[in-house]
Amino acid sequence: MAKDFGYTISCDRQIDFDKLSRSMYLEVKKAEPSVDACISCGTCAATCTAGQFTDFSLRKFILLLRRGDSLSVIQSIDKCMLCGKCQLVCPMGVNTRGLIYSIQVISRRIECRNRRVVNKM
């Protein structure tokens, strides 16, 4: 505390449009329209079977997607066990299993696309 005089340097908060893109959220929304109903209440994350072992949180993923940070989602979405508890507790009736399944499919598509781009370069 005394070392940095009570101050810390916070991260750069400007939005980098080269890194962030909402296109994945729009793609996901097309595949599973009910994602729009999400109010980020976090009930899904609270009941999540995978969430008790690792930092898997559907609430966080939806927020990240909405903010355009698809990469973090792509990296962790496969940790889900598809058990369906989140779907039963969701107060907004989001089809969470369909949502996760769609995100997985779209993630794989984006990964392949990126790999192709890298290979070309």
């Binding site: 009941t47 995978a50 072992f53 940790k79 369906g84 039963l88 507790v89 089809n95 299993r97 369909g98």
Partner: protein, 614 residues
């Protein structure tokens, strides 16, 4: 030299084409069977299995016994066409044999016998065969008439919908529809000109001769008959009528023990080509309650056949198995759909490396609640009460931090991921040294029973509790409530457990039956297998299911699945209980019964039978 006329050519060419097409197709399929399945076929070929297969072919492919059971009128339609046609061929050949004194004749002679021998006075059995053929033709014609009616007005058959056809089907269907009317006309005109025929063709001939120039019409009618036959034969391999020969192949392969695999196989091809698209599965499918009309098994199978399965057709299915239960051909549709999901999904190894060291306890009995039971605390509470009351040494495996059983992953087609979860759970179960594995969730039960290969007994809690009651480890009091038992899909059709839950419930409740139960039981609408359906549509299905289950005004709705309970509890006018709750409520408490901590309370659920009566 046998009698011949040019008009037999369309028929002959069609028949030869059909024979070659079928031979090539089936030879290719059988060649592509894996070696172990071919071995099964070889060893079964000269065994009693072949006799069973022949019997089944007679009962199903000709008499259509199963269609009869589902819908008598539809059954008669199929039987009159299939068996009637078969008899026409059989009697025709018989007549020919006698007429030509046992000489073999080319296949067109029995078919066009009346043209070549309109009224053979020298033939002793002429009258007898004329009568026989007329009766058979009448039966076939009645079938054709019903087929016309079904196409125009399917409600007449008690079917809400009939299948939508594609062009190849329409061509073959049209040909099939006109074959027998043309035969009827041809024989009638011929009988008008030369005599012969009996009550049907004979009288019709006399009638037509009154106002039609039958002497000019007979020959064209024979041409038309032959042409219709030829057209039908040529279009058969490209239409749904491929099911006629393929069903026979399917019945034989099935009797030899060939079955569906996790991936598409040659047997899948045989199965999908055996689908007659009768459409019985359409009305059976509960998705129609939610106005989802293009994913039903008949359309799904069609899309597999045409190689254009989309994710909607493959994933928008409750996998309840009601279509499997009613399919007259006995196609294993659920397995085919499961395989199509496997092919569509992403297989990824090591997705769950973050799970390790879940802890193991030594015990005789393992209780695995499963994710769904964890959302139904009253079931958990009841199960713990009962396990304590039984005095068994048990371990509640996923009490604190359990993982999923793998079934939902498997249903999504993600086999590799499911295998990983299975391996993790299996290691814990084996390490505990338990002899009995009990789960209160049918979804878990199915996968533990079929995929884990544990080497110990795997029981659904209804089986386990029934055993406790029968062994006298727990004692139940009888109550007066009327109850309806709902068969969960994964437990009933999925695992074949229908009686144990009913026997157990009969100790404490008066069970009512409903019009659709056991093998025809309904899906609650909550099924984890359907990834696509939205919640509103789910509720429509649940609502219809509740309406049917409560048709006899029971006091209670009992089920053996936490997911069914959850789905029903949202909409049911009467209390919904799990089997374990019923048993725990009617438990005669013993001295070593330990009072549970009252951590769980739910306003919605009844806590005792007294409340239900009030």
């Amino acid at each position: 030299m046998y009698q011949f006329d040019w008009f037999v050519l369309p028929f002959a060419v069609g028949l030869i084409y059909l024979m070659i097409a079928l031979f090539v197709t089936y030879a290719r399929w059988i060649k592509n069977l894996p070696e172990n399945e071919r071995k099964k076929v070889r060893s079964g070929l000269f065994s009693i299995k072949s006799i069973f297969a022949v019997k089944e072919v007679f009962l199903e492919s000709l008499l259509h016994r199963k269609v009869f059971k589902v819908n008598p009128l539809l059954g008669y339609m199929h039987m009159s066409l299939a068996f009637g046609w078969f008899l026409l061929i059989l009697f025709g050949n018989w007549e020919c044999r006698i007429f030509y004194h046992g000489h073999l004749s080319p296949p067109y002679i029995p078919i066009f016998f009346r043209y070549f021998n309109p009224h053979p006075e020298t033939f002793v059995y002429e009258r007898f065969f004329a009568l026989l053929m007329d009766i058979t033709l009448l039966v076939v014609l009645s079938g054709v008439l019903l087929a016309w009616t079904k196409r125009m007005y399917s409600r007449f058959f008690g079917m809400k919908k009939t299948t939508v056809l594609k062009p190849g089907d329409k061509l073959a269907l049209t040909a099939l529809w006109v074959i027998f009317p043309f035969r009827f006309l041809a024989e009638s005109f011929t009988s008008a000109n030369f005599g012969g025929g009996h009550f049907l063709t004979g009288s019709a001939g006399t009638f037509f001769a009154n106002f039609l120039p039958t002497q000019y019409l007979a020959y064209p009618a024979w041409w038309a008959y032959s042409f219709a036959l030829g057209l039908f034969f040529v279009s058969l391999p490209y239409s749904r009528y491929m099911h006629i020969p393929t069903e026979i192949v399917l019945i034989f392969l099935r009797n030899y023990g060939v079955s569906e695999k996790k991936k598409f196989s040659t047997f899948t091809k045989v199965e999908i080509n055996s689908c007659s698209r009768c459409g019985v599965c359409i009305d059976q499918c509960q998705l129609t309650n939610a106005d989802i009309k293009d994913v039903q098994s008949v359309y799904f199978v069609q899309s597999v056949r045409n190689n254009n399965v989309n994710s909607e057709k493959s994933l928008n299915c409750l996998m309840c198995g009601r279509c499997d239960a009613i399919c007259p051909v006995g196609i294993d549709i659920a397995s085919i759909r499961q395989a199509s999901r496997y092919h569509q999904s992403i297989q990824k190894e090591n997705s769950f490396s973050y799970i390790n060291d879940l802890g193991v306890k030594m015990a005789d009995v393992i209780f695995f609640a499963g994710c769904m039971t964890h959302l139904q605390p009253t079931i958990l509470k009841s199960m713990v009460t009962l396990l304590k009351a039984s005095g068994e040494c048990y371990w509640f495996m996923d009490e604190v931090s359990g993982i999923c059983c793998g079934r939902p992953m498997m249903l999504a087609g993600k086999e590799a991921q499911a295998r990983e979860l299975i391996a993790k759970n299996k290691a814990m179960i084996v390490a505990s040294g338990a002899k009995t594995f009990v789960t209160s969730c049918p979804i878990c039960y199915k996968v533990f029973n079929e995929e884990y290969d544990l080497g110990i007994e795997v029981l659904h809690h209804s089986e386990y509790l029934l055993r406790l009651v029968e062994d006298g480890k727990i004692e139940l009091t009888s109550q007066h409530q009327k109850a309806v038992y709902h068969d969960p899909c994964e437990l009933g059709r999925g695992s074949g457990i229908y009686n144990q839950p009913r026997e157990l419930l009969a100790y404490s409740l008066k069970l009512q039956s409903v019009s659709q139960e056991a093998r025809q039981g309904l899906c609650c609408g909550g099924s984890l297998a359907n990834i696509k359906i939205n919640n509103t549509d789910r509720k429509k299905i649940t609502y219809e299911a509740i309406n049917l289950l409560t048709e006899n005004n029971p006091d209670l709705l009992v089920t053996g699945c936490p997911l069914c309970k959850k789905a029903f509890a949202q909409l049911s006018p009467i209390p919904v209980l799990d089997i374990s709750e019923v048993v725990s409520m009617s438990l005669v408490q013993k001295k070593y019964y330990v009072e549970m901590d009252e951590g769980y309370q739910s306003a919605k659920h009844v806590e005792s039978f007294a409340e239900i009566q009030a």
